[in-house]
């Protein structure tokens, strides 16, 4: 296993990965400081006969330093994440004119409702396909998540997308695939016996291919 995030195919995935590695570096530094410090102390200050420990109850200066420094780091991180989080998850930031799909999760299926050639959900030419999610690359996609029975979680690693599907709720999720490819939808929330194999095929097409595919499926229905 190579210690890496899977290749990223989505627009905001780039920033997510950046943030991941930024945190990786910050925490990495802290990690090295702490562990190295501990090892150093174990070696340097281990018990020696006749030696007496240095008597102190602490230092307010140090306390303040190591209170303020982490606090500052976290504030910066917090602000940065807050912005990115809002861009990705806030319903008011859903992209305009995105092509819309509906995903109905049930034990243990992903049922994808396609808008049909007219690209509008809730019209006569909508059709439903089991466990196969096709959509075009290079344009925003909005998925309306619903669950029939229990809570499932819509997870496409390569697109850095994850959102629980909750019975009784209709939750919008958007993403924008940068290029074509073939992945899987995985269920990330324990949903029963078949949780581990609740997977569906994801195919990202060029626009033209997608239209062709959708037209052919629409006829088949």
């Amino acid at each position: 296993m190579d210690w890496a995030l899977p290749p990223n195919y989505s627009t905001f995935g780039v920033q997510i990965d950046q943030l991941f590695w930024i945190i990786f570096v910050i925490t990495g530094i802290a990690f090295v400081l702490v562990e190295a410090g501990l090892i150093l102390f174990i070696v340097k200050y281990r018990s020696r006969t006749g030696h007496k420990a240095y008597y102190t109850h602490g230092s307010n200066k140090l306390e303040i330093i190591w209170t303020v420094v982490p606090a500052l780091v976290f504030v910066v991180l917090g602000v940065y994440s807050a912005g990115l989080w809002a861009d990705i998850k806030n319903p008011s930031n859903m992209p305009e004119g995105a092509i819309e799909f509906e995903v109905r999760a049930k034990q243990f299926e992903w049922n994808i409702v396609y808008p049909g050639p007219d690209e509008i959900l809730g019209t006569g030419d909508d059709f439903e396909v089991l466990n196969q999610f096709h959509f075009p690359a290079g344009e925003p996609v909005i998925v309306y998540l619903e669950a029939e029975d229990v809570i499932h979680s819509f997870f496409i690693p390569e697109l850095r997308v994850k959102q629980d599907a909750v019975p009784g709720m209709r939750i919008p999720v958007w993403f924008d695939a940068t290029q074509t490819g073939e992945f899987e939808i995985a269920c990330a929330e324990l949903c029963g016996l078949g949780h581990y194999r609740m997977e569906a095929a994801v195919t990202v097409h060029e626009r033209a291919d997608f239209d062709a595919w959708q037209a052919s499926r629409a006829l088949a229905q």
Binding site: A53, G58, P70, V75, Y80, N90, D149, F155, G192
Partner: protein, 587 residues
């Protein structure tokens, strides 16, 4: 109720062992020390059980296409033709988490050490309400029996995860589990009652029964941690009970508090659960922090660095702990704007944890480190808790959490704080207070063997899980080989499993050392670690009632290497200043 009223305080602590029957003295005893030891045996047993469940899980994850050796002894409803069934795997996942949290770690931290240490370190004869204390133990026993029994009822044990997310936990027709789910909730309500009774005791005792001179800021950090923990349990547990009762009604009476078909809200369960669940996380780590602070001070022969900062850090963590629950629900469909506020509080709560880590290092700095087994476990606690804390930052950053939520990254994180944190501290505490509890030392040699094997194998098991999480391996999956993005992780999973088996075996080294030492261990002196806190100023083990004369406290808790004390490098809390040097008392 009646009990509190009826309780003539301390009645059970009169020095009258000889008058007591064996049953009253060792089984239905109201002596806090006996109760603590009863809790210790009970929780060690459940630690072993929970571990065994984990071993079965690990086998399944590593070799999903191989029948499990010896699976034949299990009924067809768990293991069919040698293969662990998915429903049984879900039960393993659920019960491993539940048992470890509610029947092993939590009662071991609180039931054992709050019971044992609060009266001894505060210098009183027993708990405020000894009989309530006894009930709080005897409520855990039926809880344990019901939990184990639930594996054998039709449909098997609870399988909806330890978080019991509704509707999965409320709809038998969707899981095939009906009775198991109900039994687990009943056990949970017993446990909740037990820990509430315990908390009432710990809090009251700490507030009202400190020895003369034991001011708030002369209390050992262990007591501070246990006191704040008790407050957390007192306020969080009833919320879980309330939620659990509603879920129980959904399961059995056909109500629909959490079922959308009847107008209920699945997310309400998550809010209630995590409103309890996050304080619970601190219930599971604060006492460990207390033990570590104390063991580090004793082992380094230095006062705790920044004692007051440590106290305020505990208080801050406890307070913030009640307003961060939502960070478990970033992906749950909760209003994203709400998510922001939880991000902030979550990052805030990391600060006191950082303060504590640095203060522990400060305590070791320029010390005179005695690297005995308890000290080794305490130091590795700092090392491993740091990793667990830092990996938490990834989750607090919501955009990153989108990707790592519900992956093995979380599994790694929670085991670094719960195992590398709480359990390592607990091992340290067991080695440290064993002489006081049983009057004999545990074997240092075997203790060191236990420590090093545990430390190495532990990291082999859980560190690679960060990698699995980065690759995107989901939690709680029975077989990961079906996923394209998870190709090539099977070797890692097998490595982890092999290491996990080894880790489980190290438990036997500990068990051997533990039981052997109870009978054959070297006799322990009053104060084998040259420690300063009050419990070490009584015989090992202390007699029934702890003290003939209540000690009077003159010094802070961790007065090591005081410059004015020349003959030794420690100053007991109850040593009169004029005996040593006038300067010593003052600070």
């Amino acid at each position: 109720m009646a009990t509190i009223v009826a309780e003539a305080p301390g009645q059970a602590t009169g020095h009258a062992e000889h008058e007591q029957s064996f049953l009253r003295k060792y089984i239905f005893s109201s002596d806090h020390k006996i109760i603590a030891i009863q809790f210790l045996f009970l929780t060690l047993f459940f630690l072993a059980v929970g571990g065994l469940l984990a071993m079965m899980m690990r086998y399944q994850i590593a070799w999903p296409d191989q029948p499990i050796p010896g699976g034949g002894i299990l009924p067809e409803s768990m293991v069919a033709s040698g293969y662990i069934l998915p429903e049984f795997y879900n039960a393993l996942v659920t019960m491993h988490g539940s048992i470890m949290v509610f029947l092993a770690i939590m009662p071991m931290l609180v039931g054992v050490y709050a019971n044992y240490l609060i009266p001894l370190q505060l210098g009183t004869h027993d708990m405020a309400f000894p009989r309530l204390n006894m009930y709080s133990f005897w409520l855990m026993v039926p809880a344990g029996i019901i939990t184990l029994a639930s594996f054998w009822v039709i449909g098997g044990a609870a399988g909806a995860g330890w978080t019991l997310y509704a509707p999965l936990s409320a709809r038998p027709d969707l899981t095939g589990v009906e009775l198991g789910q109900v039994m687990w909730l009943v056990a949970l309500i017993f446990i909740g009652l037990s820990s509430i009774l315990g908390s009432v005791n710990y809090i009251t005792t700490t507030i009202n029964m400190r020895a003369p001179g034991m001011t708030w800021f002369r209390m050992p950090l262990t007591i501070w941690a246990l006191f704040i923990t008790a407050i957390l349990a007192l306020l969080a547990m009833p919320v879980l009970s309330a939620a659990g009762i509603m879920l129980l009604f959904d399961q059995t009476l056909g109500t629909s508090f959490f079922l959308p078909e009847g107008g209920g809200q699945p997310l309400l369960w998550q809010h209630l659960f995590w409103f309890f669940g996050h304080p619970e996380v601190y219930i599971l780590i604060l006492p460990a922090m207390g033990f570590v602070s104390e063991i580090l001070a004793t082992g380094s022969r230095k006062p705790v660095f920044g004692y007051k900062a440590m106290v305020w850090a505990i208080v801050a963590i406890a307070f913030l702990g009640f307003i961060v629950w939502g960070h478990h629900m970033f992906m749950s469909g909760m209003n994203p704007t709400l998510g922001l506020s939880f991000t902030v509080s979550t990052l805030l709560i990391a600060v006191p944890s950082a303060i504590k880590t640095f203060n522990w290092m400060g305590t070791m700095w320029r010390g005179n480190l005695k690297l005995h087994t308890p000290m080794l476990f305490a130091i590795s606690f700092v090392a491993l808790f740091a990793i667990g804390g830092l990996s938490g930052v990834f989750m607090a950053a919501t955009p990153v959490d989108i990707y790592i939520h519900d992956t093995y990254f979380i599994v790694a994180h929670l085991h670094y704080v719960l195992f590398g944190g709480s359990l390592f501290a607990l091992f340290g505490a067991i080695y440290y207070w064993f002489p006081k509890m049983f009057g004999r030392m545990m074997s240092e040699k075997w203790g060191k063997v236990h420590f090093w094997t545990t430390f190495v194998l532990y990291n082999l098991v859980f560190f690679p899980m960060h990698g699995l999480g980065m690759v995107g391996m989901m939690r709680r999956i029975y077989d990961s080989t079906g996923y394209a993005h998870l190709e090539g992780i099977q070797d890692t999973n097998q490595l982890i499993t092999v290491a996990a088996f080894g880790l489980y075996l190290t438990g036997f080294i500990f068990a051997f050392n533990f039981f052997w030492s109870i009978f054959k261990g070297k006799k322990a002196s009053r104060n084998p670690w040259d420690a300063t806190t009050l419990e070490w100023q009584t015989p090992s083990p202390p007699k029934h009632g702890n003290w003939d004369e209540v000690p009077v406290v003159y010094h802070g808790p961790h007065e090591y290497s005081h410059p004015d004390v020349l003959d030794k490098d420690w100053l007991a809390q109850n040593e009169r200043p004029d005996v040593v040097s006038p300067a010593a008392g003052s600070h």
